[in-house]
């Protein structure tokens, strides 16, 4: 007969490692695959001595371990919210508190194990080489990373209706502020699809970083930066498709509000302006250009984003057709930029998106989903 902990390990631990197989494969490759097998031990010993001997390096390592702990906590909380796992509340809630505490600890340690193993070895190295203070820091940090999640799990069990992002602060905000429609889509991304928005922003930042790196090798040319910006905008395409799907599913009621079309249009412009703010900050810090140059870059980016979104107000434009039109428009804009016709390009993009929006917003209707 299976014990309770065996069943719970199957629900939490096994699922965690199965769902994160890709993540661990990449991690193992980075830790053990990039070094010649014969030098593996000396490589890791040097790495450990590196962070044991430098508090800055140690802080970065602790930060990474902390992020992994957050990933573990997020997984367990998400399991409780997954449809079909409601039975966990009455079953785990019926276990005596002390026993449940031990179960939480075992479950959390089982998924936090990779860090515990690496930290354990680092501890051995620290003691052997006389790094006593870093050793104490590592012990205290990891004990803390194993204790605080248990309180969060216990709280989740007692407050099933409280989501991961709705703590005291969120409830206070909910009582005192209302979310403007401009932020609905951003809330959707940050609360329900954080990975999607973070991955897009990460890749977009990567493209811009590469652009600045290449521009650093030569004399700065605004057109080169704008090419990078077009690529960065293209990376936002999946967010636009998500935006349409979100509007179709949840924001039907907005159509019924007595709001003039131009306000709806400004809302769409505002959403994409806000979405591109991180890139704007990055560009402002790194670009060796004047204010008019920066404004040109931002105007091109936001105009492209808004037009690409507006194309989706044609019901029959699916992801494939959208990609085709987006690439054609990008090429045209690229050539206009190369010919230093940035502002005429912005004007054309803005006119096209406004015409499409004003003509299609009220008549747009999502296509019914086809049965497969």
């Amino acid at each position: 007969m299976r014990t309770t902990i065996q069943i719970l390990q199957k629900i939490f631990t096994q699922r965690f490692y199965i769902q994160n197989t890709g993540f661990f494969l990449v991690l193992f490759y980075l830790l053990f695959g990039v070094v010649d097998g014969g030098n593996l031990i000396s490589y890791h010993t040097s790495l450990m001595l590196g962070f044991l001997g430098s508090y800055t390096f140690l802080l970065i390592v602790l930060l990474l371990w902390g992020l992994y702990a957050l990933k573990c906590v997020g997984f367990i909380l998400k399991t409780f919210q997954t449809p079909g796992y409601d039975f966990l509340y009455p079953t785990m809630g019926s276990i005596p508190k002390a026993t449940r505490g031990r179960i939480w600890l075992l479950l959390h340690m089982a998924i936090y194990m990779p860090v515990l193993v690496y930290a354990g070895i680092a501890l051995g190295v620290a003691v052997t080489h006389g790094f006593y203070l870093p050793a104490v820091i590592i012990v205290v940090f990891n004990v803390a990373m194993c204790i605080w999640p248990l309180l969060v799990y216990e709280r989740k069990l007692n407050h099933p209706d409280v989501l991961f992002f709705t703590g005291h602060l969120q409830r206070w905000l909910n009582r005192h502020f209302t979310k403007p429609p401009l932020l609905f889509f951003l809330y959707e991304l940050f609360t329900n699809y954080p990975r999607r928005i973070f991955s897009v922003k990460l890749f977009s930042a990567g493209v811009l970083w590469l652009t600045f790196f290449l521009l650093g090798q030569m004399e700065f040319d605004l057109r080169g930066l704008q090419l990078g910006i077009i690529l960065s905008v293209l990376l936002h395409m999946q967010l636009m498709l998500h935006h349409r799907s979100f509007d179709d599913s949840y924001l039907n009621f907005v159509q019924q509000l007595p709001v003039p079309l131009w306000k709806h249009y400004l809302r769409v412009m505002g959403i994409y302006f806000l979405l591109f703010v991180p890139e704007m900050v990055m560009i402002t810090i790194n670009a060796k250009t004047s204010l008019p140059g920066l404004l040109t870059c931002f105007a091109v980016a936001v105009s492209l984003l808004v037009l690409f979104r507006c194309l989706l107000y044609f019901s029959k434009v699916d992801a494939e057709i959208h990609l085709r039109y987006v690439l054609i428009i990008s090429f045209v804009v690229l050539f206009m930029i190369l010919g230093k016709y940035e502002w005429p390009a912005v004007l054309l993009l803005q006119t096209a998106s406004a015409i499409i929006f004003l003509a299609k917003y009220r008549t747009y209707e999502p296509l019914p989903k086809m049965e497969s």
Binding site: D161, L163, F165, T166, R171, N174, R175, T178, K179, P181, F184, Y187, E188, T191, N192, F246, S249, Y250, L251, N252, F253, Q255, Q256, L257, P258, V259, P260, L261, R362, T363, Y364, E365, L367, P368
Partner: protein
């Protein structure tokens, strides 16, 4: 003769190439109407068309001079709609939605606060809608339908999901708003209790058309 509240002129609606509504003409005077029809007859589509939620061919005129085509904003101010199965973004709170409706549609905040209390919505209005039961969502969508200064309120299956106490409050609201001149169009598979509401007429959706009995 009473003034026409809503008039439909050559209203046609198709999904892809399949016509679902083809109403040559329909005019309603103020009152309470029961919109009947079999499953799939087009009741909800008809309501969504009237509410300006989905595109259609033809024209709908409210109060004799507010056209769905020429005055889209004013049109939406005069007509409210509560869905049968409301769906809202999970992260929004009831208060977020209520404020949005009050800010755009206007109306008496105090009156809405009183209705909110009567329906028991004030207890959970600050929570995200993801934590609401289907009954709580339904109550919220009904409350939103009473915001602003509508002349016509469309209620899609309002009698299901809500508890007996809320149902009593809803009947009271319909009676009092109707007395103030607001017209109601209600779909329901359950018979509407004649002791609670006096119907002005029954609308039957069949064969893509609506007939008034």
């Amino acid at each position: 003769m009473s003034e026409t509240v809503i008039a439909l002129h050559a209203v046609k609606k198709s999904y892809q190439d399949t016509p679902v509504l083809d109403i040559a003409s329909l005019a309603l005077i103020p009152g309470i109407y029961w919109l009947q029809g079999e499953n799939g007859a087009g009741k909800t589509t008809c309501m969504k068309v009237m509410a300006g939620l989905i595109p259609f061919k033809g024209e709908i005129v409210l109060n004799g001079n507010v056209s769905s085509r020429q005055h889209p904003v004013q049109f939406r101010r005069l007509i409210n709609y509560a869905e049968a199965e409301p769906l809202y973004p999970s992260f929004l709170t009831g208060r977020d939605l209520l404020e949005l409706y009050l800010n755009t549609k206007g109306g008496d905040r105090e009156q809405i606060r009183a209705i909110s209390e009567k329906l028991g919505i004030d207890v959970f209005v600050n929570n995200p809608v993801s934590s609401y039961s289907s009954g709580m969502l339904k109550k919220l969508s009904l409350l939103l339908a009473f915001t602003g200064n509508p002349v016509l309120i469309l209620l899609d299956e309002p009698l299901i999901t809500i508890d007996v106490q809320a149902l009593r409050v809803l009947y009271d609201l319909i009676r009092s708003y109707s007395a103030k001149g607001v017209t109601f169009c209600i779909t329901s598979h359950q018979p509407i209790d004649p002791a609670e509401l006096t119907l002005t007429g029954t609308l039957k959706v069949a064969h893509k058309n609506i007939t008034l009995n």
